[in-house]
Amino acid sequence: MIGHYIDLAWRSIKRTPFISLLMVLAISAGVGMTVTMFSIYQHITANPAEKMDNQPFTLQLQSNSVGSGWGNGMLRQITYQDAIAVRNSGLDATTVAMFKSRFAIKSDAPAASPIFGSVRVTDGTFFDVFEVPFIAGSTWAADADRDGDYVAVITQSRAQLFFGSDDPLGRMLFLDNKPYRVIGIIEDYNPQPKFYDLNNNPFSLGAGIYIPMGLAPLEEISSSGNTNGWTPSRIEDYQALLTSELHWLQFWVSFDSQQERVEFERWLSAYIGDQQTAGRFPNPEASFALQTPAQWIKYMDVHSEESDILLIISILFLLVCIMNTIGLLLGKFLKAAPAVGTRRALGASQGQIFLQHIVEVSLIGLAGGLIGLVFATGVLHVLNGYLAVGFAGDEFPLTQLHWTMWLYSPAIALLSSVIAGLIPAWRICRMPPSLYLKIQ
């Protein structure tokens, strides 16, 4: 029976090619625009740490004065001295202190010329805490976090860039002319947004090279990210930066059990008290905050209004497209009313007529959904072109049409067209056949 309806629908579509095309295009424009904006919205509001079961937590420590700080009265990063104190506390919780920097980087190949790239200076626990899989080798030993070691973990694509198809393990990378031994290769790690460090551009790519935190004081590595202050501080040299009240490190912690968390929080409270006694932490109510990636993304307010506005507008636009299609369908169906009258007179029930028309609009909707996908791909391509200008060089992660859109798009199109077809199909199946038979 459905086959017969599809056949009838196809004949009816062919009978009014212009109007049918118009309906398909209207649906595809509406759906295409909505799907595009939904993709961007999804990209921007995604929680890349969703699968990590609300771990790890970022630590905010209120070493700043009353009145400075963000929503919860705290700054968005922590000081070097606090980061090191918490990390060296000997607690069971796994901690990561880190910041980003930039170096002139070249390989050990003769005649290699340096490129300028970002490097993350971090504790070796980074890869474990953020669940970054190793392809070869491993992270550095824990004492490198404290004492430094000239080793590096690099991503697959950086390995490819510097060493081609050669085995990179054991090879040397030169950062500002200093040799670092490559000890681990990880898969490219570019969570969007880059929740572990949302400063500067939250939608930029992650670093391709990771080196131990212990090198920071040895090499006097400066941060290329944000450095926030709340009190005037004179920074004469690197040592002064390390002991200053400036906030410039990101700090994450993960717990294996509730017990670990309880102990960690108890230790922090005691630490805050100690610091207050020692004359730091001017806020008498000084406290700390632990936030999950989802909470952190929200707190840092990374998502732009533009994407919300565009999503709302594109849904309104889809609504107009549906209205438009209803109007066209009504006209088209009513024009074919005499034929329906004949079919009704020959025994077709109201339900059958209704179903047949719904099949027809579904075909139109499906076609619109598919063309809408093509349309969305094109629009995203153009938008990516505009947005890529805002990023330096190759550091732009493209907004892709999420795979779910291949399901959503036809589904939205089908739903829209069926909604559009309901009234016209209802009107036409309720027509008394006698009215049209009489005229003929």
Binding site: G327, L328, L383, Y386, A392
Partner: protein
């Protein structure tokens, strides 16, 4: 022609009328809001940098030599680059206008015990005396720096009391209430309060942040480069292509010192475009939605008009048989469509404003002037009258005999 038959006819086709009116109302509401957003965005990106954007290059350098001496290397760069064919001026600077990152500090008009007087935020340029040649800064009053006035920041750590500064006219206005201020003293930075003498007032002198509320407040301190691995050069070229300039500058820079990376070298307009990339993508999306919306509803309206005319062939024939002229028939359709649009406007204008309120409560948008929905409504009215004209003219050609034949 009487309005009553028109309204009657609209009332007799309630579903068609309602659909068209809802479409037109939504269209007015959406387009008016989109046009409002577009004009708002256009205002914020329409910045006259005062720079020859095609002829100025921004060069970012990173040095990794252990014994890097910024002044030695950079002054040599300036000298050798200036000798290159087509390079007319080279300056060291810590930032470029509108590039998105840089430094700022607060400035005061006077130092008093009780902290009165005005304190104003301004972008701080640390650049040598070539900066005005490269950027093409126009001095409204006074002059720019002389070579001997350029100080060495490594020697002093800060400015010397009484040193000259060039400030933007906007800063002069905000700090001192007028911009004819050559010879006046200002204090900077506010924590140290070193008195500085204004030697020049520049027009169109932007700081590095386009969205900053005081983006035109700038101070230029005459400084040689500080010892810092990151250095920035601004270069002006003429008579050669940008590609040629970039090529010869890059080669020369590496020849001067290969223990560095030319991080980026690009035309000034690229820097500016980068700052506005999100705005451009938004403008593109809004423009695309407007274009699609107009195409969809006007094609749709024509389609419905064609059906409408076909369905009413007999009615038209009857009217013609009863004495209506062709002109009357065309007028009938025009009046119907016009009446529909007037109804849509009456509903659409408040709906547009309501949508704007809704959007304003969610996002930081300006309120919509009633002019926008009204003009969109009139444009739509015009469009629909033109759209209905052709189906209406063909309808008017229905001979009266058609009506009598099948009845």
């Amino acid at each position: 022609m009487d309005i009553l038959p028109t309204l009657n006819s609209l009332r007799r086709n309630p579903s068609t009328t309602t659909l068209l009116v809802i479409q037109a109302v939504l269209t007015i509401a959406i387009i008016a809001n989109l046009v409002g957003m577009i004009s708002y965005r256009m205002d914020s990106i329409d910045i006259n940098s005062g720079i020859d954007e095609e002829l100025v290059l921004d060069v970012e350098l990173y040095h990794f030599a252990e014994d890097f001496n910024a002044q030695q290397v950079l002054l040599n760069d300036i000298e050798t680059l200036t000798q290159l064919n087509g390079i007319t001026a080279v300056a060291t600077t810590n930032q470029m206008p509108l590039e998105g990152s840089g430094s700022s500090a607060s400035v005061r008009d006077k130092v008093t015990e009780d902290d009165t007087g005005s304190q104003v935020q301004a972008a701080i340029y640390r650049a040598d005396h070539h900066l005005s040649d490269v950027l093409g800064l126009k001095m409204k009053y006074g002059r720019t720096f002389r070579p001997e006035e350029i100080a060495d920041p490594n020697d002093m750590g800060s400015m010397e009391a009484g040193a000259g500064v060039v400030i933007s006219s906007a800063l002069a206005m905000e700090l001192l209430g007028r911009d004819d201020v050559v010879g006046e003293v200002i204090y900077f930075p506010s924590s140290v309060d070193i008195p500085l003498t204004v030697i020049g007032v520049a027009e169109h002198f932007y700081g590095p942040w386009p969205n900053w509320s005081v983006s035109t407040n700038s101070i230029w301190l005459g400084f040689l480069p500080r010892d810092n691995r990151f250095q920035q050069l601004a270069v002006r070229f003429e008579g050669i292509s940008a590609a040629e300039a970039i090529e010869s500058i890059t080669t020369q820079l590496y020849r001067n010192d290969d223990r560095r990376v030319v991080v980026s070298i690009e035309q000034y307009h690229e820097i500016k475009d980068r700052q506005f990339s999100v705005d451009y993508s938004l403008l593109f999306s809004l423009g695309l939605i407007i274009a699609l919306l107009i195409s969809v509803i006007s094609l749709g309206a024509i389609g419905m008009a064609v059906f409408n005319v076909e369905r009413r062939t007999k009615q038209i024939g009857t009217r013609r048989a009863l004495g209506a002229t062709k002109r009357d028939i065309v007028m009938l359709f025009l009046m119907e469509s016009g009446a529909m649009l007037v109804i849509s406007m009456i509903i659409g204008v408040p709906v547009a404003l309501a949508l704007n309120w809704q959007l304003m409560s969610l996002f930081s948008l300006p309120s919509l002037s009633v002019v926008y929905p009204l003009s969109v409504g009139f444009a739509l009215l015009l469009l629909s009258v033109v759209g209905i004209l052709f189906p209406a003219i063909s309808a008017a050609k229905v001979p009266p005999s058609v009506a009598t034949r099948s009845l």
